[in-house]
Amino acid sequence: MITLSYSPLYCSTRNFQLPNPSLFANLYGGLAVTKRYPLRAAASLWDSMRSSFLNNNTSQLIEPLPDEEEEVPQEIVLVEKTQPDGTIEQLMFSSGGDVDVYDLQALCDKVGWPRRPPSKVAAALKNSYMVATLHSIRKSPDAEGNDQKELIGMARATSDHAFNATIWDVIVDPSYQGQGLGKALVEQLIRALLRRDIGNISLFADSKVVDFYKNLGFEPDPEGIKGMFWYPRY
């Protein structure tokens, strides 16, 4: 049986008017660091804590550093093809990270990935270090101006901005696969990470795509380093 007692030792210094938690700790002789709240107050307290955690908690951690250079999001046209009927199709790479969550969901459906809650996906995209996207832009020949823009690929990386980074969710539309687009996405991520001196770049690859990443310069289990995941036991 799990008893979950949530101690807001960290968030209480910013969001709430709770008394200083270290006071409580001191009352228990410096030994206790968790505390139970009376059950009747727990519900509202949990709600406010939950909303605080969901509210981009990292904004409390990240203080704007004036000397940290911001990389200008790039847009690069990788491929430009002219169709027989005159429409020009451009495949545009972007590191700006503007991804519509529902576009991404449609792309994941095409590839056969399980659906994930859109709010969580939106939060994950917002807090990723870098989100690289590939869009296909079709320009009609009569210069009407209505371009069709479609998301055909994405890759994202999370990082602590200094030492470690992990690449997640590399996805390319099946009808555009096999052209080196996935490779381009990952290479751009690696390039951006290494330019910021982030040396530990890792990812977790399904067995089917291990060779794809080997081709990109990744080594499985280098020097015995393995990846492990948490399995809650109830």
């Binding site: 410096g30 030994l31 139970r36 290494l194 291990v210």
Partner: protein, 235 residues
Amino acid sequence: MEIVRNITTTTTTTRPLFISTNPSHVKLNQLTHLFTSSHFSTHRFPNLHYSSSGNHRVVEAVNVDKLRIALLHSSVVVSVFCKPSHSSENNNNNDMFSFGRELMERVVPVSESNGELVGFGRAVSDNGLTASIHDIVVLPWLQRMGIGRKIVQRILRVLVARDIYDIGALCSEKERLFFEACGFGDDILGSTAMMYTRAPPALSHYNSQDVKHAGRMLLLVPQSRQDLSSSTTND
């Protein structure tokens, strides 16, 4: 109610611990001292030098600026404090105030201001789907007492409270057993952990922009793709 007590019975005196999830409790100089004392490096493949006495190898010192940035961008930062032991400094003069002094030392609880940093751990997350745990460090002479496990459990608790259940950790052979004991295991989907280790080809000339050092590894920076729209178009 979970009271964090010193779990071991190997030491003669029990020492209270103070676990904090407040990142501002961690002072960088204490943290670098902890890393050095524990022979811990933030690089997965660290450079090892020989110590001045020549009998063992030590890791290079951690880059403090990068460490500060890493702490700022870590979603969870856990630190463990313990009262420094004064056994060597005890002047056993039985004056009038020694009893009072010792009493105060015992009664005043340990906190981040009067304690010594003995353990540390952090997690990096996108605050939505995934998280990964890094840099779990405990002083060598306080290891195998359950402190590391407490750190990991606290990190897990904070992440679960934020609704993040996909929590991973990269670990070397020696750390595998530790994480297994904390409830980690191989990925159920059978994925393989891979790291970028591509080095520039030997005997090639490269300028500093194309390679990066990560500990003792030399990593090749992939070439930037050409922007086709800016290049001269034919037709």
